[in-house]
């Protein structure tokens, strides 16, 4: 177990392996690691940005939703107002129409009644004349007594 030339050869072998490691082993491993590190950093950064824009989109979405709701409420309110107005108008119109119909109906009725009354008067006067002539057995000259008959008829 003396110290001998083994020491020198081991030092040389050591140098050779360190050189091999320095030249061929270390650089590719390190560059792969660094590349991955960079990629991960970029990925994390992108994720953060995506998060931020998501937050922003959420805010915009909420704001727009609120606006839309307000508008919808407005529209509904307007529609309600309009419908009640239309309803009111229709009611007023219908009432007027009904009144008109009723009026014309009563006018017609009156006319009818007048006509009937006139007819009745006519018939009555002739009945009266007949009856009177029968009573006095004498023909009443219709022309002569026209005035009297008329008066009588009017008195009925």
């Amino acid at each position: 177990m003396n110290i001998n030339a083994t020491l020198i050869s081991q030092a040389l072998i050591f140098a050779v392996f360190v050189y091999i490691c320095y030249k061929y082993i270390w650089p590719p491993i390190l560059s792969t690691m660094e590349e991955r590190e960079n990629k991960m950093a970029a990925g994390l950064e992108a994720a953060k940005q995506a998060d931020d824009s998501l937050e922003e989109a959420k805010l915009t979405y909420e704001k727009e939703l609120k606006e839309a709701k307000e508008e919808a409420a407005n529209i509904v309110e307007k529609a309600n107002k309009r419908s009640s107005q239309i309803l009111n108008d229709a009611k007023v119109k219908a009432e007027a129409e009904a009144e008109k119909i009723i009026e014309s109906g009563s006018k017609k009725l009156e006319n009818e009644a007048n006509k009937t009354r006139e007819e009745l008067k006519q018939q009555l006067s002739s009945i009266v004349v007949e009856t009177a002539s029968k009573i006095i057995d004498e023909e009443i000259d219709e022309k002569k007594h026209e005035n009297i008959i008329k008066k009588a008829a009017e008195e009925i």
């Binding site: 083994t6 392996f17 792969t32 590349e35």
Partner: protein, 290 residues
């Protein structure tokens, strides 16, 4: 002629490296009987082979996995590999603050994984690989006595290996010290602290000791921890000399306990070696006054 197996020969066998070296009498040889004659020109073939294999395993593991591009789900192995890189980077960041030194990352990763793999060899049961070597080399006629075939399979229990890596770190420390502070700055750091310019020899003695202590402690700490761990495994294995079922079961239990505990040592020592490597390099980058 086989030697008698005693506890001493058993331990000795486990602590001996397969060594090839140059001798005066027979030239290049791998025969352990000439070990003392080899002197400095000797190579621990087992430590070197295993450490190279584990280094190749490290490179293969980290290079052959499929790296999915950044916009795809990473594969499982990719997650593991990236976890290691991330871990190393975090340690560098906590020690260095920030640095544009491109070498420190790969250096620390190599140290961490390679040392961890080498330490992990300690968890292979102590007799597996040495016995296998014995049988194979005896059967193939490389040695006449199977006990002459040595194989020490945990590289980090060999001080040459740990100090060799520490030497590499030391050279880098010196290199960056001079590169960052300039040669003058480096020399000034060695000679003008802590007592100013009137005590230059004393300062130099202190600072050079401090400087040399770093790689020495770095290498010896790893070696010491792993060597001690290996030693305990060998000692537990010695229970087999009692040839009794009770001790066999006891030995098994102790092996398990020590192995579980050793997982901690294995990973902790790899981690410490890496942290100290980063620390020493960061000290080399410091330009301020102490």
């Amino acid at each position: 002629m086989a030697k008698e197996l005693t506890s001493k020969s058993y331990i000795d066998h486990h602590l001996t490296n397969l060594t090839c070296g140059k001798t005066e009498s027979v030239g290049w040889t791998c025969d352990h009987n000439y070990y003392d004659e080899m002197g400095f020109m000797a190579f621990h073939v087992d430590s070197i082979t295993i450490s190279i294999l584990l280094g190749v395993a490290f490179v293969a593991l980290f290079k052959l996995i499929k790296l999915n591009p950044a916009d795809q789900k990473p594969t499982r192995m990719q997650n593991f590999v990236e976890m290691c890189v991330e871990f190393v980077n975090e340690n560098i960041k906590s020690i260095f603050g920030s640095t544009d030194n491109k070498l420190i990352g790969p250096l620390a990763l190599t140290v961490l994984i390679w040392v961890f793999f080498m330490n992990l060899m300690d968890l292979i049961p102590v007799d597996f690989l040495p016995e296998l070597t014995k049988q194979v080399s005896y059967a193939s006629g490389i040695v006449d006595d199977p006990n002459d075939a040595y194989f020490k399979f945990v590289p980090t229990t060999d001080p040459n290996i740990t100090l060799g890596m520490a030497l590499g770190v030391f050279i880098l420390t010196i290199f960056y010290s001079i590169k960052i502070k300039g040669l003058g700055g480096f020399v000034a750091e060695l000679t003008l602290h802590p007592f100013g310019k009137f005590a230059i020899p004393f300062n130099f003695a202190l600072e050079i000791m401090q400087l040399l202590a770093k790689p020495l402690s770095l290498g010896l700490r790893l070696f010491g921890n792993l060597y001690a761990g290996e030693m305990i495994f060998i000692l537990i294995a010695l229970l087999m000399f009692f040839q009794s079922a009770v001790f066999g079961v006891l030995g098994l239990g102790l092996h398990l306990l020590w192995a579980l505990f050793h997982i901690l040592v294995v990973s902790l020592q790899a981690f410490i070696f890496m942290v100290l490597t980063i620390l020493y390099l960061s000290m080399a980058h410091e330009t301020g006054d102490h």
